[in-house]
Subunit: 200 residues, 2 copies
DNA sequence: CTCGGAACTTGACACTGACTAGATTGCCTG
DNA sequence: CAGGCAATCTAGTCAGTGTCAAGTTCCGAG
């Protein structure tokens, strides 16, 4: 009850609720990631995030226009993180391993990044971040000598991306719990990639 | 104004609105598939589906308990369709091709099937249908001589499933529009699968 | 014929996203 | 050291949604 020092007594039902949260944008982003990791993007509610941050229900809208805006920001951040993770990959299977690791370390980002229906497709920050990540992917693939496989290099890239993306997606959906068991998923993936992408 | 023959005048604001729709469950399912195909599962509203069927807002709940129930039913139907599509696949790359074709022909089902956060995981109909599809997948993979690749057959199955699933997912998300161009995606996939899964 | 249960309606409640106007704050300029 | 201004946050409102409980209509078995 006895509030020690009501520096500004606008409302102290939460311990130190100042008018300006300080870093609301960041607080909401991380809270959103928690919720998405637990319940998926469907369970996300701006009002709930506001409550968690101890802030009024309309406050989030000032940082992210809408729900779609919030998810778009998360996706953009995800693509930036992915690009960074892929940046200095040594070779193809290393890049794939990093892709899988990224999905495991940032499951919320990963889900949102590939849920186009939830995003504002024409958002500038999003499209540039995505382009950056795509570039990183492309350079990772450029090391593979596609002619060894009898297909052009773009198709080799599609194959590699499909393999990594499918593995990561199925993994996050707990569809590989049986086969992978308690081995390190990233290691399992490297084995697969090495086997499939060895030169004939 | 002059309603021709008010066979049962409960309400004739729609031409022939009878009290019993006749096949509401089916009508709602197909309408839901349309909506999901267009806007994704996020854009799905039970009330909207009810309106489309010309039925009161709470009617859908009688056939599918809730929104989750509806999506679960769609997922179960999807796994059954997938199992049927995979049933008489001749070999591995044929199965993969069928997997990709299934995703293209039933995009709504495919999306919902792999969105665990939206489904009732313990639903009986769903789990049995999924088991059926998993079996069909497993038998498709059993033809590959895994020892040729130096990995055990379960891992070969994981590799094949990952490749097909990743390709299908990226395709539906329009992430492969560039590389695939206007070629038949299914054919492109068969090329990839043949290349990666050839015996050394 | 009737009567029981299935199919659907009606009404209500709590919750959500979105929008608006206004209050508060802290910083930056002069 | 003011004082103003823009960013930040509050408060109130509206339409739309899922879900529940209680009615109404209809069909078909007995």
């Amino acid at each position: 009850m006895a509030s020690a020092e009501t520096d500004k007594p606008n409302r102290s039902d939460k311990q130190d609720r100042r008018y300006h949260h300080g870093d609301l944008r960041h607080a909401i982003l991380t809270a959103a990631l928690d919720v998405i990791t637990a319940d998926g993007p469907a369970g996300l509610s701006l009002r709930d995030l506001a409550r968690r941050a101890g802030v009024s229900h309309a406050a989030p809208a000032h940082h992210f226009r809408d729900r779609t805006g919030l998810l778009t920001a998360i996706a953009a951040e995800g693509f930036a993180l992915l690009a960074a993770a892929l940046n200095d990959a040594s070779d193809l299977k290393d890049a794939g391993g990093r892709y899988v690791r990224f999905a495991r370390e940032h499951p919320a980002h990963f889900q949102v990044m590939f849920a186009p229906g939830l995003l504002r497709a024409d958002d500038l920050e999003l499209t540039t971040a995505r382009a950056l990540a795509t570039d990183a992917l492309r350079t990772s693939v450029s090391g593979v000598h596609a002619e060894d496989f009898g297909i052009d290099s773009r198709l080799a890239g599609v194959a590699a991306w499909s393999l990594a993306h499918g593995f990561a997606t199925l993994l996050l959906g707990h569809n590989l719990d049986g086969p992978v068991g308690d081995r390190d998923p990233e290691e399992v993936f490297r084995t697969l990639a090495t086997t499939l992408f060895r030169t004939p």
